[in-house]
Symmetry: C2
Subunit: 220 residues, 2 copies
């Protein structure tokens, strides 16, 4: 990946981990609630298990924040509004919407954190890479979405629109975080070297998203 312009400050790293940690805590909460939308108990349990996995990651991130001398509540707090707003504005109305959200959301989050991880020192880099989502989540979501589309092609338009809304809301909250939190912007800027590279990072993430949507038949 890119060479480090400089090692990120402890403050930037704890802020980044705090953002991740609060993201995991809320993902737990929202996916747990979305599991109720499942058409049967087995599928409900599958989504519930995905939610539960976020909590293990949350604890690992909080341990590292504490190790770095950060106060977990204090470092998470600045990201509460943006992350809550994202979820409040993207509540799935049914099972398929909840799966598209898991699929789109996990993948974009993972792509972002994989890029960011490359900018960190080894201990934090490894931690961030380890809390990425399980491929099994995406496989389950894709299989369900594919089966639903095969059974009824008319849902494609609605789900494609939903996926675009998810990305739009995610980008708008990401911009809010970037504008409000210098610590996060700094880590990306210092890591990538300049603003052009930040643009390229976003472009790569959006390109990968677009390819995934095509693969699942939702890029109409």
């Amino acid at each position: 990946m890119s060479t480090h312009a400089s090692a990120p400050s402890r403050e930037s790293v704890t802020a980044l981990l705090g953002m991740l940690a609060y993201g995991e805590l809320v993902a737990f909460d929202r996916i747990a609630a979305d599991a109720r939308l499942a058409p049967d108990l087995q599928r409900r349990a599958t989504l519930s298990a995905m939610a539960a996995a976020e909590i293990n990651n949350f604890h690992r991130l909080v341990s590292r924040i504490t190790e770095l001398g950060g106060d977990p509540d204090a470092v998470m707090e600045p990201f509460v509004a943006a992350i809550d707003t994202f979820h409040d504005s993207t509540k799935p109305r049914d099972w398929l919407e909840s799966l598209v959200k898991v699929y789109v959301g996990d993948a974009i989050a993972d792509d972002f954190f994989r890029e960011i991880a490359a900018l960190l020192e080894p201990a934090d880099r490894d931690l961030v890479l380890e809390v990425l989502h399980n491929d099994a989540n995406a496989e389950f979501a894709v299989a369900e979405i594919n089966a639903a589309i095969a059974a009824d092609r008319t849902i494609t338009g609605r789900l494609a629109l939903w996926a675009r809304r998810l990305v739009g809301e995610a980008l708008s909250q990401a911009q809010r975080v970037a504008a409000e939190h210098d610590a996060i912007t700094t880590i990306v800027l210092e890591g990538t070297g300049d603003l052009t590279k930040v643009g390229e990072l976003i472009k790569r993430i959006m390109q990968a998203h677009s390819e995934r949507m095509t693969a699942v038949g939702l890029n109409n």
Copy 2:
């Protein structure tokens, strides 16, 4: 414990495991939702982690049901109404009520399953004993409740009333299960030997509950 009158039938055992499994799935869902009532992010994470633990237990129970030739959805289904009704009628209104529910509910469920486990064959007995709740849950709940009572004695009456309501609703749903599901009644009857022993089992569980309420200052 008691000597076996006879080994419980496979049908009775899968029904019991199905009841336990659905109980875990719903406990996950409800505790995950109750975590939002927490006064800060750390406490919210603690309750979220308790919820997540239920899902691991759920998976172990479902594996065993499948191993015994049962269909997990089918064996859980008969208990959906009773368990959902219990939770729908006992939604905590605040953080302390959610902790009292965890404390009272976990303990009574564990006492019941410890007694029932003694009536099962070794493989099922061990599984049922292993999915009992972590003592740390109770310790956390008791510490929070004690601290809240120390800060404001006037909440004792409300929480004691709440605990009584929880037990009342639990008993009324347990009676419904006993009336509707011969498989569960049979396992208890065959295991304990006669109806008097069932009465004694309930009495022991209620006695232990009462002692716990006294210990936490809620038996007024």
